[in-house]
Symmetry: C3
Subunit: 646 residues, 3 copies
């Protein structure tokens, strides 16, 4: 439960705690925006209220997750050290008045963040009711990873010096011979904003890499302090869904559990789907977006994933904020559990009647009455009791590679305005999910043993070591277009794309083109014609051509090529073509799948099997004859859940 004692009169705390426990909740997160309440003036600490809040919550039976309050530096700190404020890409200072107003490169802010973290960790590190910690909150929210401050410039130069060793090496990597962009020393280098034209893509990606590393070290400093003072308590960070502004795996290395924010309503409206599908899923959300992120953050958390903020009703931050259908809070909670999530916390306990988020629902209305979400949580708690304990989500047989560096590569050099790496990844995930097959996410450093099929929708920067491991693994691999198209230096590989991937499949990409939204290409695959668009490549190969292009331009050119080990898709695909490509690949890898599930989704956690109906009409659950149902039954109403064991 997300709870803010600093926002409510003390008199309400005990009653709130009692009702949380009564509802069946066991965890409560507090503190992550409370710096000004803890330390209202420099060095003047007011612990008494927080002592009391933890006591009241703990005594009621709740385990406290304590957040470091660094996402919201207080005004006195900004007054004294205005240099901690972040600077936007136009050079304007981003002012105090909301949250996340700090620059990750500010040394002063790093020392202040360490100071407040240390103070909290010392006071509460071994507190009986403090069972876990959260660092900061939602790195990346409000576009705050990239700061163009003077300190960022300085830190970037040091980072470059470390990465490249010599300025000549940087000149080589950035290709500064191109437009007389040569540097004589690292001190000459500036940030890639306010240029006349786009910077060298290596300059662009290096700034993202640097900024990502700044987040990692900022976070790690807090983790180290907490661990020193609070042994045995896990540390988490609460990530934003699908944010790729920094490398989440690298931050994940330093924490014990990854947690994330489940807000599918805004996710739907901002997301990949066409308007008619958004209409269809208006109040249930994209069926695959939450599951995608559960699976992704399970990888970020190296197996451990929590939901720190579950949408309990309409929210406030999207362009429009529709209500979830009644039943969705229950459905999403079960979906999280099914995908391996071990704790679901709702944001927030009670709707705030003041300040920025007053249109954001809570489990309680502002007047403390139970709202719809409250009732649904009660239902889940009751249902949970029927289930056997100790079921663990196992490893999947299919893995999808999500690589942050590759995302940065297409962000900096998109080449086509309509290319969305985020939509590509979600489309591939969704296609597998609709065939009833579970998925793990992996990075290029993950263990890949045991996977039968590895999907790489756009592994733009393929590392040699990863390719080496793929070669030796048993898995079949499917690469999407653009895979292997850039080196670590953001160059075209020598010998053309897909660079090192040619070890897995003998192809060479001699031309790429991005295509406008109004145009589509035709692909012939097994005597059927499919439409595809947005991106097309010309591939030369000695391997089998599984599908080919049809039409005036390079008629007959390969669209899907396969070796014994790997397949390469030379076009951006979604819809029916992607269904065909993925469906065939599952069979090729010896995996079973179900017929297209439509609006149903199924998955398993240990011996438990789950089905979720995101559709508008009842659906039959694909349960065996001997299935034993814990929740629901063979026919599933819209917005309903079934749980069984075969």
């Amino acid at each position: 439960m997300c709870y803010y004692p600093e926002q409510w009169p003390r008199g309400k705390w005990a009653e709130d705690a009692r009702r949380m426990v009564e509802l069946g909740l066991s965890w409560v997160r507090i503190g992550e925006f409370a710096w000004a309440k803890i330390e209202p003036r420099s060095g003047e600490f007011h612990w008494e209220w927080l002592d009391e809040a933890i006591d009241v919550l703990g005594k009621a039976g709740l385990k406290v997750i304590l957040g470091t309050p660094t996402a919201a530096p207080p005004k006195w700190l900004v007054n004294r050290y205005p240099e901690i404020l972040p600077v936007d890409a136009t050079g304007a200072v981003r002012k105090f008045g909301a949250r996340r107003h700090y620059c990750f490169s500010s040394r002063r802010y790093r020392s202040e963040a360490a100071r407040i973290t240390e103070a909290m960790a010392r006071r509460y590190g071994e507190h009986i009711y403090v069972h876990a910690w959260q660092t900061d909150n939602e790195y990346g929210d409000h576009d705050t990873i990239y700061s163009y401050s003077a300190e960022a410039v300085g830190a970037f130069r040091l980072w470059l010096a470390e990465r490249y060793g010599s300025i000549d090496e940087l000149n080589r990597a950035w290709g500064t011979s191109f437009w007389s962009m040569r540097y004589d020393s690292f001190e000459e280098i500036d940030l890639p904003n306010n240029l006349v034209e786009e910077p060298s893509p290596t300059h662009g990606v290096d700034f993202i890499r640097f900024s990502s590393d700044q987040v990692k070290s900022f976070n790690k400093a807090q983790v180290d302090i907490i661990r020193a003072h609070s042994p045995g308590r896990p540390v988490t960070h609460n990530f934003m869904s699908q944010n790729t502004d920094f490398d989440h795996y690298r931050v994940g290395e330093d924490i014990d559990i990854a947690s994330w924010d489940v807000y599918p309503m805004g996710g739907l409206l901002n997301g990949r789907l066409a308007a008619k599908d958004k209409e269809h899923y208006l109040r249930v959300g994209d069926p695959d977006q939450p599951a995608f992120n559960h699976d992704l953050y399970r990888a970020v958390g190296r197996g451990r994933v929590w939901v720190m903020e579950q949408q309990p009703g309409p929210v406030n931050w999207a362009a429009h904020n529709q209500s979830p259908a009644d039943g969705m809070v229950r459905l999403w909670t079960w979906l999280a559990y099914a995908h391996g999530v071990d704790m679901v916390s709702y944001f927030r306990w009670r709707q705030a009647p003041f300040a920025q988020e007053q249109f954001h629902a809570g489990l309680l209305l502002p007047n403390s009455e139970a709202d719809q979400g409250y009732l649904e949580v009660a239902e889940v708690v009751a249902e949970m009791k029927r289930l056997p304990e100790g079921e663990v989500r196992g490893k999947a047989q299919v893995a999808i590679v999500l690589d942050y560096e590759s995302r940065w590569a297409t962000r900096v050099l998109p080449q086509g305005r309509s290319y969305s790496a985020s939509a590509v990844a979600l489309d591939w995930y969704s296609t597998v999910a609709r065939l009833g097959v579970d998925v793990d996410f992996i990075g290029q450093h993950s263990d890949i043993a045991g996977y039968k099929l590895i999907l790489a929708p756009d592994l733009v920067i393929a590392e040699e070591a990863f390719v080496e491991r793929l070669t030796r693994a048993d898995a079949k691999v499917v690469f999407g277009a653009r895979s292997g198209s850039k080196t670590r230096d953001m160059h075209i590989p020598e010998g053309l794309p897909p660079g090192p991937l040619a070890k897995l499949i003998d192809i060479s990409v001699s031309r790429v083109e991005s295509l406008p939204e109004f145009h589509s290409e035709t692909v012939l695959y097994g005597n059927e014609a499919y439409e595809a668009g947005g991106w097309r490549e010309t591939v030369r190969t000695s391997e089998t051509v599984i599908a080919s292009f049809d039409g005036e331009y390079r008629n007959g050119a390969p669209a899907l090529v396969g070796s014994d080990k790997a397949r390469y898709l030379a076009v951006a695909a979604n819809g029916a073509l992607l269904d065909k490509v993925i469906g065939d690949a599952l069979g090729w890898a010896g995996l079973e799948s179900l017929p297209d599930l439509g609006d149903l989704r199924v998955t398993r956690r240990g011996n438990l099997r789950f089905a979720f109906n995101f559709g508008r009409i009842p659906a039959e659950v694909p349960a065996g004859a001997s299935a034993e149902f814990y929740v629901g039954g063979r026919t599933l109403k819209p917005v309903d859940v079934a749980i069984w064991r075969e």
Copy 2:
């Protein structure tokens, strides 16, 4: 007539004046952009040309409205005091080179504005030909109400200190416990621009309130000076149509007559209508936008309203500038008269062949030939002579509440991108107008005695005192969605929305949602199904449910609820649903209405009845059998006017 002697050779003045009088005009406005001509260098006054201009105009028979020239500070003033320039939200100074380049918080500009006003008022205050004054011109044009200057910060802090008394009270109101936003003193507060994320909505609305008050005090200073030196002459300000950047009622309190700008062509293209309706009304404009503003500014002027600038042909400032149909200048002039306007001034006498507005038509072409507008004014003058004198627009039986604070509330916290409070208000007005019913606008401090029906499309911040007066009044009331949803502090009311309105109708709003453009909800009302969209609320009530929602989401929930006194509409409505809601409400309030008038509009001023045909085919006027026509007859051609007495 809007006339600029400073733009023309002296030799043309007498002839121009003669032709104005010949045309039948009696008023001429001059001076509002002439500062540099009056005082070309600091303290060096050149009155002689203005003396002569007033003399020439006055002797010809025209009454002069003299404008203070503060809308256009001269270059020497900007050179000497660059701090008078306004600052935009990015922090950039807005430079000299056009007009309105001043910050309302500049103390220097206030003293300079007072100085030039005093100089003019002393010289011409008792001039025989000066019959009225205008302060400045078009407050709010070019987005100039909000300035983010250093002086604005200082003045805002003082304003806050006055409003809140103590910083604790401000912290409470702004909800600064939310994200550690707590302030220790008023000196710490900054303007709500360039933040990382949106400010506290109370911070946002307070800045608008402050800016609005700055306009009021700026204006009042001029009015006081003029009144001291020019007794008996009314003072007006020329407002922009539908601008809600400041509280027009509060500025209106200090003047004698409100005047405004009638530019329906740009109003149509920028306005609420769908593209096919814009096409239908292309050269006649939105039939309700001018009438809406006549009625609104009649309220701002506490009964006295003028048109200071009537579009005489195509203008220059909209994205496209179509020509009005021939006849529209006449029609709009009569429409103004019918709605209680006592003086119509055309902008401008002669089209300027130079500078910014050379594509803006005049009554005369640049070469002094009469253009179409001139001919139509002549027609009106002739027709006017046939009418009885002294007819006064009476009080209506229906009032619409337009509340500026409520507009700011939805501007700062829109919650849904497609929510337009301006469109909502105009849609409600238009619906009443199409049923042939006259309307007054009221604010929360207006006298409400005598109204049978009060419509509050979105009275977001309902004041207790106003609710109290509604309770005691005879009027029935219809509230639109969002009414009563925020307190003066921009909080959700204790006990949920609609806060104080629950005294009039026992409802409680437990959930709101904003809906994307591609979705609509179905409402069942009297066995008919209607579509509505954009905003929907979940209402709990003990009152009668008049209409209800139909569909998968909360099927059967109340869409329109009614008590004996009030009705509450829980959805954003327009089109057929709004017709039904308003039509029923008129009957409920015991008012008569006409069948839907389509493109015809009717209204009355005293004993005179008027009809206007905005359509493309002839229409029958709803005149009684005994009607006696002054202008036109029973069948009205497109773009034509009928005036009769029953």
Copy 3:
């Protein structure tokens, strides 16, 4: 050939040169981005690599075009003189890191540019292998003509003082009496950015004129230095297609040959056509955009035009970057030749695997394999050998007036958002081209002798002297709407538009209107009805009304008026109406034309006739019975070329 020895190891140069010659190329452009390689630190010149590069290329048999490297100032220069950086309209400095990061008003940059030009010209001016020079590169790329720097302000004031002589004259021209904008001295004047509202249009156009003159003088300084040291070598500049940010004729006066960039793929997507036509021409481009520019730059080069950069495959800079159809590189090369181009250089020899443009194709792939473009160039070289030599493109019988000042007039005062002067000009050109008629472009100072028909699509600012010459010429003239509507001072002409054009046709424009995209007007022309939109004028005339408006608004008003000498079109026309207007005008001028060619284009160079098929189906070439084909035949496949002699 565009070649960058500084980007490749020396070991590759000889082989590259050998292959260029083998392919049949004879010219190679180098050096234009190589400043940092030539002078890596201030005053430290490294000529040896360039000496060697020129030697290697020259000895292989290539003629070198040497570019001055001023489009890419090196970092050390920016470090030392940061004031050379350009400033954007918001006031932000545009930083180092790409190219074109200089302000044309920087005196320091002018002296540095002269210094490096002098150094190169001295060293290579009489070099045996250096056969031509290019100044800088692509003036205007990345929106770099307008800089809002402190030096630009100062230079603008001097320029104004020179133009106007006295501040009173400037006040008159700018119409500063309008809004108290009066200036006391030139020192008070600022640049027209960051204003509260648009500046005086004369202020706006004067800033463009000034900026254009800065480009001319910047360029001429280089030309003068080169001519002093490199007698007998022609000097060119490589222009951007359709850029109108400065007066290309005026820069063209100072060079020997105009060259330009042929990138039709991006040109199509950014261009005038509707989405369905963009789809139709997706991989062949707008059939008229390259020809338009060949003809235009032939005028800029006073008869001599080169293509310095021909697209050889997909590029990198458009929103989407589709591949040209196979065959288009050959087609575009022949199209250039047919339109009088004497040298076609491809950009670039080899695709760069690093830096900003790595998605830009070359004739070679990054690994030095021949790509499609290479093969097509080989084809052209072989075909070229079959043709007779010495054929020269003759003067056309039709001329289109393209006037840069007129473009600036509509840019500064568009009056309608959808008005595109660029689309208007290309539509008129295309209409003539589809009728098989060749065109020359002319400016107002061009020789007009011999033309039978002169088309002026929007000669907004018509110079008296030009009108005088038109009067005396034999040519018939067709004016589009807006012609003659502004004086040199950006005023409406005394006596109304079309000002001096009334000498050619007795009309007077009393009203103009711009119309939104959703509306169209109907024009009756010879008993047929046509649709037109966007712009309409009310014209009074004593001449023959050839076509007239039909509809509710001013029904019957003239849409096309004609005298013996001239016709005036009072509406924005394209499609069928423009076909009719132009088709009729050709007949009226005694010119022969072909039936609508559809997707075919024909033209002639000397005795050679050319046909190009931009369509998707075969087409019949309009060759006479006795035609003798050098390339292709009577039936032309898609993307194919025929060359014959009658």
